[in-house]
Amino acid sequence: MSWLGTVWLVPLYPLVGALFSLLWSPGLISRTGPRPSGYVNLLMVSIAFGHSLAALLSLSSNSAAGQAAIYAPPSFHWTWLQTAGLTIGFDGLVTEPGLIAMTVITGLHVLVQIFSIGYLEMDWGWPRFFGALSFFEAGLCGLVLTDSVFFSYVLLELLTVGTYVIVGTWYNQSLVVKGARDAFLTKRIGDLILLAGVIALLPLTGTWNFHGLQGWAADLTNNAQPLPPGFQLILLALIAGPMGKCAQIPLHLWLDEAMESPLPSTVLRNSVVVIGGAWVLLRLEPLIALSPLVQGVLVVVGGTTALVASLIALGQIDVKRALSFLVSSWLGLLFVAVGLGGIGAADHLLLVYPLPMALMLMSVGTIVISNVTQDLTQLGGLWSRRPLMGIAFLAGAAGLMGLPPFGGFAALRELLELAANSQLPLVLSGLVLITNALLSAALMRVFGLIWGGRPTPFTARSPEVLWLMVLPTMLLLGLVLHIPQLLVHLGVYKLSPVPGWGPMGWPLLLSTLVGAGTSAWFYLRPHPLAELPSGLGGLQHWLAEDMHTEAFYHRTVVALVVGLARFSAWSDRQLVDGFSSGTGGVAMEGARRLSYTTSGRSQTYALSLVLGVLLMAAWLLSR
């Protein structure tokens, strides 16, 4: 069998690793430590990476034989359920984007699991943690392989469960408990709405396969048929899943709270896991294109998130959160691209995003672990002693802001071009430019507050950390710096004169320079103006607190559910319970009358019942 033909094994390797972790359940292997579970998972993840890389390489050697080879993607089929006319199959399809995604996912997992060995050096919870990481990888690989919207839902839901487990790694800690709960429930809301859409979709389209849906949509357009009634609602339901996964407003709360999980899992979550939602969204694009309403919703949701989340990120004092809100912001831009029908731009935004984000988080992780704080106000002055990590962070930041020749520039420029050609050119391109400026500023602010300025008591001693964390970070740094070359090499962008330069290049560059430059001026050296945001006091606090979204949820959704639950419990006590206590009381009375001597009332009552049945039978017999 070829590497390509057996690519369905890739999600299974890490799954085996995750199962292996069960050996270290309490009471099984306890006289020795849990570290082998990590090594086993790393091994399985590496095998998965090797396999997907080999498959990717053999695919591109196929492509040398001709375009046709690429467009004859191998497929595999596995029927999960077949009953009463319903057949649900996994319908794996090995496409080139899928393989690229899979290679990125598995490769990043390898790096992150190595990183985790260092980061969690002092931790005893390896089996659960590494098992959960591998579980994530299995889910994501499955997601890029399946051609079924149903299995996409299934896998997204499993990722939700994985999030719960992994955020719950440190289950003794109170905020972890809360974070795990909120992450699970918020994502589940999105998932359930998605499920409703998935369920409603089938009777309409007769298929759950993305390619089938594409065909159905094409039929609809070609025959100029009207949209089926309720179809727009179904579409809205379908995009709810990606919205939850991509932490878009109003389902963005969980990402912030999920930051209570160990940092290595944050690296993966903020880079590839959130992308899972975007992946599904992109595959639904042919359906979305049918409805201008839904497109508009995407633009509004994505645009709002992009702008607001980058503002919130600017106000954060916790370094993990400062980066996590940027995740929402960037993916908001992707939503805008999908909403504007720019599937190419969205693809590219998706392509250039994960690695720089992972790189920044990994470099920040090495700082957090050695300096015992995530508080940006307690960090500073690390450039001279932690330069490698500073460079890594800068490379990651450059890869996300619109700064040529780095990775993110071309994709952002395409988005800007798309916005400029849309129906609302001024508003939308303004949105993109402002978001980009804010994003750049937020990234530079994090860099300045950690590496710039003067050392604080928390950073007075800050040696570089264990090689197990530095090495993967450096490898990723190399990779991130090479993304533009890779993209040019693969023909995604042209070199003119820098990768992906084109119309609207100058405004984008300008917005980056304004944003990053202002921020650098504020934060790189201890500048009196750096106190300005805190001088605004309330505003920064309000932003840092995520504009009190949590409180809002508490007053609305949570209050509603709790209120309803309390009401139904009350009515249960008053009506149903009261009623049956009443009847119970009558029955007790009857039993008491029947028997004055015995003490076992219920037995007596049972006896009387049996007698009744027998009498009835006797009466029947005698008839």
């Binding site: 309490p26 009471g27 467009y71 004859a72 993607p73 191998p74 497929s75 089929h77 999960w80 359920l81 009953t83 009463a84 006319g85 319903l86 057949t87 649900i88 199959g89 399809l93 839902y153 299934v154 839901e157 499993l158 289950y171 109170s174 408990v177 709960r181 699970f184 429930l185 589940r188 359930l192 499920l195 409703a196 369920i199 409603a200 089938l202 009777p203 007769g206 298929t207 759950w208 396969n209 390619h211 594409q214 065909g215 559910v561 309803l564 639950a565 139904s568 419990a569 249960d572 149903v576 009623f579 049956s580 009847t583 119970g584 029955a587 219920s602 049972a606 019942l609 049945v613 039978a617």
Partner: protein, 499 residues
């Protein structure tokens, strides 16, 4: 004869057990052996379908010993046998008054199997009534502090249900044109007028709605489940309540289809109400057993929705939900029982941090997480398969109630996570943590059930494979357009992608 064996094994064992000397370990082992033997027999019969059995018993009464096993009852018989075995295993080794206890458990089993095997309405009725007595005694004798009240209430509701069923069965039998006839074959011929069907259906709904239960007939359930000893709760919630669903399927849908079809929108609404009501109530419960009880109420609501929809797919969903819920709820009660056995409490506020690997109950809690996720309908576990079939099957018939049930399914996640967060996560209260960890013997039933829940989730034909031919003829509606085109790779290449 094969069929009779299914009944005779527990019957004989139940009669012989009391003859053993008190305190003999063989009482528990004997009960377990009987249940396992019955399970084996059931599995054998599954592979070698037996001929139906028919013999005269009391011909004047229309009572014939008609027994049969079809795709509808096969899985339920297996479930009953399995859960009896698991319940016996889950009973404490030092069970008080073991001879009576296990004899009553086996008596319940006899009643259950009898009801499932019966092909005669009167026989069904007798078995149905038979179950009430041992279960009541089990709750009344071995239950929790408020067992007397619980038993009374259970018995009251059960008696009402029994009387309603009695009336319904008698009416069904009397109204047959060929004279008194309780045979299912006769009843399935639908010889009743619409008015007659409606009256009888009202009785049937009352009878089985109480047993299932659905809102607002569930008054007995929380207190009974919370007071019943663990094995009894497993058996009652796992199988006895399924008798309600089975009864609705058989007596309502099969025997009274016209009335059923006429009332099904209302039934769907009641189902949706039950689902949301049960889930909402479960959210605020402070007692694990009551929480599980309300969760069961919610799932029974979904079952009713699927029954009301009565499409081929939703009926498959009914069977799947009966099995999945039977396994999951028994597992939940089993685990809650284990926690209670060790910590001495079911009160959620008093527990925390049980995941602690050294002094908590990490093994139990690990299984608990799986069980709760299964109850919450997370993919990969049995509950999801059932819910998917229910939703997909009911959507075409009743979209709004289905949506409400979906919402209820979201709320199941709320209580599941709330329970696990409070009980599993957090810091263990060390003052309380003075217990020994669970033994492998105690873990076995939970392990077996977990394995089944997992396998059924990954390989759903375990839930649906039994019954497809049996449910299809019962469908009132077709599940229009519900066919998923299994996209063959070749068609993908040629049709959708540029060459």
């Amino acid at each position: 004869m094969d069929l009779l064996l299914l009944l005779l094994i527990p019957l004989l064992a139940g009669l012989l057990l009391p003859l053993l000397p008190a305190g003999s370990p063989w009482v528990r082992r004997g009960a377990l052996a009987a249940a396992l033997l019955q399970l084996l027999d059931g599995l054998w019969l599954w592979q070698h379908p037996p001929a139906a059995l028919s013999a005269n018993w009391l011909p004047r009464l229309g009572l014939r010993l008609e027994l049969g096993l079809d795709g509808l009852t096969m899985p339920l018989v297996l479930l009953a046998a399995l859960l009896t075995a698991m319940a016996v295993m889950a009973s404490p080794v030092d069970q008080s008054r073991p001879r009576l206890f296990f004899a009553l458990m086996l008596a319940t089993n006899v009643g259950l199997i009898g009801a499932f095997l019966a092909r005669n309405a009167l026989l069904f009725l007798l078995a149905y009534e038979l179950i009430l007595i041992p279960t009541t005694l089990l709750v009344a004798t071995w239950g929790g502090e408020r067992r007397a009240g619980a038993a009374i209430r259970f018995l009251t509701y059960g008696a009402v249900s029994g009387v309603a069923l009695l009336a319904a069965v008698l009416a069904l039998g009397w109204l047959q044109p060929g004279g008194l006839n309780f045979s299912y074959t006769a009843l399935a011929d639908h010889n009743l007028t619409a008015l007659q069907q409606r009256w009888i259906l009202a009785l049937v709904l009352l009878a089985f709605g109480l047993k299932l239960p659905v809102v607002p007939l569930h008054g007995w359930q929380p207190i009974t489940y919370s007071q019943a000893p663990t094995p009894v709760a497993m058996l009652m919630s796992g199988v006895v309540s399924k008798l309600g669903a089975y009864g609705l399927l058989r007596f309502g849908l099969e025997f009274l289809p016209d009335a059923w079809a006429a009332w099904s929108p209302w039934l769907a609404a009641v189902g949706a109400l039950s689902a949301i009501y049960g889930s909402l109530n479960a959210i605020v419960q402070l007692d694990m057993r009551r929480l599980v009880a309300y969760s069961s109420l919610g799932h029974m609501g979904m079952l009713l929705l699927a029954l009301a929809a009565a499409t081929p797919l939703s009926l498959q969903g009914v069977i799947a939900q009966m099995l999945a819920h039977g396994l999951i709820i028994a597992l939940l009660f089993c685990l809650v029982g284990l926690i209670e056995l060790r910590t001495g409490t079911c009160a959620i506020p008093e527990l925390s941090g049980l995941l602690n690997p050294q002094r908590g109950l990490p093994f139990t809690l690990g299984l608990m997480l799986l069980a709760l996720l299964a109850a919450a309908g997370v993919p990969g576990l049995a509950g999801f398969v059932a819910e998917l079939l229910v939703f997909e099957g009911s959507w075409v018939a009743f979209p709004w109630p289905t949506l409400v049930c979906l919402l209820a399914s979201g709320l199941t996640a709320v209580y599941a996570i709330r329970l696990f967060n409070r009980v599993g996560f957090g810091r263990l209260d060390n003052e309380r943590a003075d217990w020994v960890s669970t033994s492998w013997g105690e873990r076995t039933p939970a392990l077996v059930l977990t394995a089944l829940v997992l396998v059924a989730g990954l390989w759903p034909s375990m839930l649906t494979g039994f019954s497809e031919t049996a449910t299809a003829p019962l469908a009132l509606r077709s599940s229009d357009a519900v066919t998923v085109i299994a996209m063959a790779p070749a068609t993908v290449n040629s049709a959708q992608l540029p060459a």
